[in-house]
Amino acid sequence: MTIVVPTLESPAAVRAPRPRSRRPGPGLAAILIPLVACLYVGVVILLPAVSVVASAFAKGLGPFLENFQSHELISALRLTLFATAVAVPCNVIFGLAAATAIARRQFRGKALLLSVIDLPFSISPVVVGLMLVLLYSPSHGLLGGVIESLGWKIIFSWPGIVLATIIVTFPFMAREVIPLLEEEGWEQEEAARTLGATNWQVFWKVTLPSVRWAALYGLILTTARALGEFGAVAVVSGNIEGLTQTLPLFVEDAYKNYQTELAFGAAMVLGGVAIVSLLLKLLVEQLLEQDKKAARIEP
């Protein structure tokens, strides 16, 4: 029965390796790694976040709500919401246009163009603000003369704040939508076109529904960043209390002027928005994952 056939494997079977190299099961590493990870994230991220909430509500809900009687805080909140309300739709239109234009074609310089769109991620926000000042400042800007003769005011006014917000947030949308469109291929759109749909109809009825979750994800990221932008806005706004002060600028200003409660109140508003956007992001991520799976199965 047990005839040992001398095969090539048999020497190896004789010198079988000792089973010392188990798969790293529940050993020391399996406890240590999560522990270190949790401690690190706890100290670096969780503790500061909790401290904002604790400081904002340190004296209870009443004093926290009293912060909202401050005119400066309300006007800062209003300006931030306004800048976001202008910047986000502009960037959504650009993002979708750029995605439909770029994703469906292979051309020389495509990687370069994508890098160019990514530029605002790697340029310091302060440099973005500086660029706007050098372009539009009435005294030193390249177009300063033109702007002044038209009677416009861009720097130290709301158009500058909106422009700064637009620049730092425009890549998000395109970045989220392009990969999905590239993965999906474009048979469906061709089908729609051969059936006589116009470009607009194809975009509205075929392309947009297929990338809806990615677009929504991009929209959330754009909005969260637009609400919180600090560096670029700090350079162009002039930080005039009650006029050109956005909510993030208000947080810094109040803190530096020892109005700690106001600072934490305003920070809590922004932090609350950030947490809501994170929760929405988690939700949309799951929907996006489903869409991606569907896109992979379909072709």
């Binding site: 999560p34 372009l135 919180g228 920070a267 922004l270």
Partner: protein
Amino acid sequence: MTPALLRRWRPPTLALPSWPWRITWTYLGLILFLPLGAMLLRAAEVGPVGFWEMATTPEAIATYKVSFGLALVASVINGVFGLVVAWALVRCRFPGQRLLDALIDLPFALPTAVAGLALTAVYSTNGWLGQPLNEAFGLKVAFAAPGVTVAMVFISLPFVVRTVEPVLRSLEKEQEEASWCLGATPLQTTLRVVLPQLLPAILGGVAQGYSRAVGEYGSVVMISSNVPFRDLITPTLIIQKLEEYDFDAATVIGAVMLIFSLLSLLVINLLQVWGQRYQGDAA
């Protein structure tokens, strides 16, 4: 007959690009290229000699040391701990994992001013962590260089984790199993089989985080004391120059930072290409 005639009569079209292309280029031109051009033009007006002089004043050099040096420290710390966090998220199962996963994205979502306020509150000498650190080691974190580093660590942590995580997840288990079967210890397997495959992702994440940390303003300006030659970062120096109406100096230092951003973008792209090649070989 007439439509056919018209078609024949149409002059040779210059083939205007489609609407999406027109929107893309117009928008990019107005929003990105125009300001970028204005700045490069202003920087060119200064002339090479003036540029070099203003870019290398002792004051500017001191801020480069703070910005680029501390960002390097922060990125190295995040390179190590980011890998640990990514490993914990992918390879381990433990309670609170979902929370940990969600927390990683907080620095992306939280406005930098709020992050700066939070870190200053925690690490100042009467804060939750600042007080014990100060009493035990005499270490002053907020309003000094360590505080700047902490802020940079905070904002650049997600880059490493989120870059390493998908690569770690997509690694083929067979290679590690083969390594174990051949008698390697878990440590050897990790160092010789897993880490080399993760290296492009780790470096890519570190480079992205570094680039972000160098340019960061909002959170750092709040936790730093902004004293020149001690913990003043380059973006803050640009703003100070603007406030002094020294537009030339601001432009030159801004151009230095811009050149750095372009270089880092190049490095990050090269690292990505390298990583893809690695994955291509593995598959």
